[in-house]
Symmetry: C2
Subunit: 277 residues, 2 copies
């Protein structure tokens, strides 16, 4: 029997069609601080009202710039694993604080409450949170928490009924190890302890769509903690390896200029299923 493929239908329905058509550009996102040249990347997941959890991320990176959906790379797969623990396999929707990839973490910190950035982000949050079935918001990292905090007072009634789980960013461990010089094992353990601390309360505020498994994370990533991206989350025709755990996109170039201009896409070895060349 023929395989039937799933794919993300995109932004045909309102208010998403208008949100996409009216996305802000360089006038709102300064090019010194954002890689606007790679285009805005809007979301991942359900826009049809079936979402029960909203995930608020930070900004898109290399894998996202090619797949045109957010949280597709390693960070996304860690989040997908967290959602799986609370029994959420597809009933989520994800947006980022920023439409464009941040150029330098410090740059990211500078703009989270910029008025025009916030106004546009809040239109998405209104569309996804006001009078919807979302009962919990999973905010990934400090910027996401700030982004949520810039929305909540504008919709106090909706916000008061939502559970907020403001957790460490999914790649906090790597960033923290780089910045502090601490061993990655230590920062990973700290991140997973943080996620564990939010797990039960998050589960208690979300109606699962499948089995839950609230076994806490160990001090290191286990083999089932990362979960691949569902086929239905990516645009039509997206290769299967775009959804897998092996990295496939990287910035490359010998100098800063070239590196900003270049993303190399490489089929992972495990997906090179063609006959010998």
């Amino acid at each position: 029997m023929a395989v039937v493929h799933q794919s993300c239908p995109g932004y045909v329905a309102e208010p998403f069609a208008s949100l996409v058509a009216e996305h802000p550009g360089e006038d709102v996102y300064p090019q010194a601080d954002f890689r606007t040249e790679w285009g805005p990347i809007f979301h991942r997941g359900r826009l049809d009202g079936s979402a029960r959890v909203l995930v608020l991320g930070q900004d898109p990176a290399t894998h996202e710039s090619v797949s045109r959906r957010i949280l597709v790379g390693e960070a996304g797969q860690r989040v997908q694993g967290l959602l799986a623990k609370i029994g959420i396999d597809t009933a989520y929707v994800m947006v980022n604080v920023y439409l464009y990839s941040v150029f330098g973490q410090a740059a990211g910190n500078r703009h989270v409450t910029d008025e025009a950035i916030t106004t546009y982000r809040n239109r998405w949050l209104d569309a996804l949170l006001v009078d919807t079935d979302v009962t919990a918001v999973l905010a990934l990292g400090d910027l996401a928490a700030k982004g949520y905090a810039a929305w909540a007072p504008t919709r106090p009634e909706t916000a008061s009924a939502l559970h907020l789980a403001a957790v460490r960013h999914p790649t906090y461990a790597e960033g923290s190890a780089r910045a502090s010089g601490k061993p990655l094992a230590e920062t990973t353990a700290a991140q997973l302890a943080n996620w564990n601390a939010h797990l039960d309360a998050l589960a208690a505020h979300v109606q699962p769509e499948g089995p839950t498994d609230l076994t806490p994370y160990a001090a290191t990533w286990g083999p089932t903690d990362l979960v691949g991206i569902p086929e239905g989350d990516l645009p039509p025709g997206a290769p299967a390896w775009w959804r897998g755990v092996d990295a496939w996109a990287a910035r490359s170039g010998a100098d800063a200029q070239t590196k900003r201009a270049t993303i190399t896409v490489t089929v992972p070895r495990g997906a090179r299923s063609w006959p010998p060349l």
Copy 2:
């Protein structure tokens, strides 16, 4: 006033949603002859019934594998220029003979009448040609002409009412020069003479949506002969330089294995509008 962006809405309406969901894979397109690992790429242009011309191309290449729409690179911009001459700016739809990028031109020649490939292609041609406003088919190159010939007898009534312009492939000049050793200037002149020979008849069978300019091509590409891809043809958020005339995607790698596995995406120099780094 805020810019309002256009984008391709994708494949939400039937029969296109089902055609995309049911696309054939490696069982139909052998991996020895097709780069199935980059995923199927379906179309470019109007699926809403407003198309007046169907363009039948050959197979997607590097730019198409990233933008996820066909005929986006140089070949596509030459076609866009040809359509502009007959007064067609957006009222077209384009599909390829093959869903996947051909691995070697000889491989491409081998499969154009394969039963399962033809059956699936004919479902698209039925959807786009039977009881629609399309009055002319522009077939690009020999494979496209063969693909059309494999459909026409299945719908004789529809086909008899259509004008077929079977022209040289838009990058015939480059391929022919490489294969024959003839100067590119000579093969370019031959290609453009061939396009000129079809121009008036094609125009006569298409109701233009804007001004026509049937001035024949010169013996070489002129400055207005290539036309950029309209914003509304690419998926939401696609960077503007994906639609421009400067190349931005290339296969790279020191050996055949790596080259098959790699596409490097580079922002063209003219689009590097960020401040000095």
